[in-house]
């Protein structure tokens, strides 16, 4: 079966999840990856959305983090303050997914502004949950489209701490959580060096060259001593993912027909 780079990216992210993980899930690719994992190799995977839905099992992907589907299929739904107090800050989440407009080689993220904060070129949405997800989940998975505007030499703004601007700050701050352990892009996966915490490519997606990855990265990119080939999507993975997207599209079309707007 043929597949897109976006599908490969989602599937690579899904594979990184373990059956006993409790995930703090964001909208978009993280949501697709988590639900794909739940529907394939990790049926016990627990999904928590910051809207307060705990152990939700959505049949279709939410467009927003607070969709009714999430509540209707959750074990229970708590208030947003409780979600951030008892569940995120309480250390109950093993994996947090984060993205952003920019990431640097140490997994620090910018989702605030491009340009100067006081007079930005592009005003981005802002932190949302990310600033505390980054420090309070046991491990962080970062998902990004791979291009030079996203994987940058230097962030315009540090919204969410990875391993720190020099790779040493996180440890120095005494945080007990691991921080970013994985970056998944549409070209490759990267993991941090155990000592320097600089991310290095550890697997290339099928058909992607080292040169192609380096050309699309804003810093002089390192490769791990051993670089694997990402196994291509299995038929089961692809079918499950496409069914999920098809169900989602059908549900949204139905809802659009039923809705009226303002």
């Amino acid at each position: 079966m043929t597949y897109s780079a976006a599908e490969m990216m989602t599937i690579a992210a899904a594979r990184a999840l373990s059956p006993d993980d409790v995930c703090f899930v964001g909208i978009g690719l993280p949501s697709a990856a988590c639900n794909l994992a739940r529907l394939t190799h990790a049926p016990r995977l627990t999904l928590v959305y910051e809207s307060g839905t705990i152990a939700t099992r959505p049949d279709v992907l939410p467009l927003s983090i607070g969709d009714g589907e999430l509540c209707e299929t959750a074990l229970t739904t708590v208030s947003v303050p409780e979600m951030f107090q008892y569940w995120l800050q309480g250390g109950r989440i093993s994996v947090g997914f984060l993205g952003g407009a920019q990431v640097d080689r140490f997994g620090n993220l910018n989702s605030t502004v491009v340009g100067d904060y006081a007079a930005p070129t592009v005003r981005l949405p802002g932190s949302g949950g990310a600033t505390e997800i980054a420090i309070l989940c046991q491990r962080i998975f970062i998902v990004m489209r791979h291009d030079r505007r996203a994987l940058v030499e230097r962030l315009d703004f540090l919204t969410s701490l990875g391993h720190g601007p020099t790779g040493r700050e996180r440890r120095a701050l005494g945080l007990r959580t691991e921080g970013p352990v994985l970056i998944v892009t549409d070209l490759c996966t990267m993991r941090p060096d155990p000592e320097t915490k600089e991310f290095a490519v550890d697997a290339l997606h099928p058909g992607v060259s080292r040169q192609q990855v380096s050309d699309n990265t804003g810093w002089p990119l390192r490769f791990a001593p051993r670089v694997d080939d990402t196994p291509p999507p299995s038929a089961d993975e692809l079918t499950t993912l496409r069914d999920l997207h098809a169900r989602t599209a059908a549900a949204n079309a139905g809802a659009a027909a039923a809705g009226e707007g303002r």
């Binding site: 307060g52 005003r123 802002g126 600033t131 303002r262």
Partner: protein, 271 residues
């Protein structure tokens, strides 16, 4: 005791020019009808407070009703930017917008602190982030027992909070169900509050339960506004109009298209 009022009466009685105002909702139960009534009445110079300013605040900012925004995530969920918010921040159109920016955890804690009568919220947050550099209302204190550095932000105590809920009983007690967000905290933290509801029922059916209820004596006005959350949704009543959210992107990208969309909502004073 909550008074039952029409939406125009509730807004004119309890929302004032220059107020700090939270129209809360977390995707679910966003009080669009009340926000539009505020625009219709031309109430301006508002400080808008919300964790997730989405289309409603984009509309209010585009209409020039706000002088300041306190927020933690400003986007069109699953779609993209809020173009009116961006235009105000990036180009000062139709008027400059002051920004006070937090994280979700900070705002959730700050609403809870407001509801709990605290002057500030103490939590684990902002470690290593640049946000404290650009927001002087983020401070740090040491735990007196462990020495650990903890973030502190001021409690959120809006002049007025407006929310939409599923229903009230005849006594003015309000039930919120489903994704409940920070709405209860936002009402309890506010000096004044308006709740729009889908319907009024004889009995909320919450006796003996642990349901999320705002007793009548915590609310100033209840206004019955069926569909008051559209194009957001009301669990048990109607679904989210995702097509409107998606379509908003094109309307809001363009000042002219936005002004045409907004013209029925203009008050007299601000555009």
């Amino acid at each position: 005791m909550a008074e039952f009022l029409s939406l125009p009466d509730a807004v004119s009685r309890f929302v004032r020019r220059g107020d700090s105002i939270a129209l809360e909702g977390f995707t679910h139960l966003i009080p669009f009808a009340a926000g539009h009534e505020i625009l219709r009445q031309g109430i301006t110079d508002l400080t808008l407070i919300r964790m997730t300013p989405d289309l409603l605040y984009d509309q209010m900012i585009g209409c020039g009703a706000a002088r300041k925004l306190i927020f933690s995530w400003g986007g069109n969920p699953g779609v993209g930017s809020l173009h009116r918010l961006r235009d105000a921040v990036e180009h000062g159109w139709p008027r400059p917008l002051e920004i006070e920016e937090h994280s979700h955890s900070a705002m959730a804690h700050a609403y809870a602190a407001g509801a709990a009568g605290m002057p500030c919220a103490v939590f684990k947050g902002y470690v290593g982030s640049d946000l404290p550099r650009v927001n002087p209302r983020i401070r740090f204190i040491a735990c007196p027992f462990t020495g650990e550095s903890l973030a502190v932000v001021p409690a959120i105590t809006p002049d007025v909070t407006v929310i939409h809920a599923q229903r009230a009983d005849r006594g003015g007690n309000v039930l919120i169900a489903g994704i409940i967000g920070v709405q209860k905290e936002a009402v309890l933290a506010a000096r004044r509050s308006i709740v729009t509801v889908e319907e009024v029922v004889e009995d909320l059916g919450t006796t003996g339960t642990n349901a999320t209820v705002l007793p009548s004596w915590t609310v100033d006005a209840v206004a019955v506004v069926p569909g008051g959350a559209r194009p957001s949704y009301a669990h048990g009543y109607y679904q989210r109009d995702n097509a409107f959210y998606t379509g908003w992107d094109a309307i809001s990208r363009d000042r002219t298209r936005f002004l045409a969309w907004a013209s029925p909502l203009h008050g007299d004073t601000h555009l």
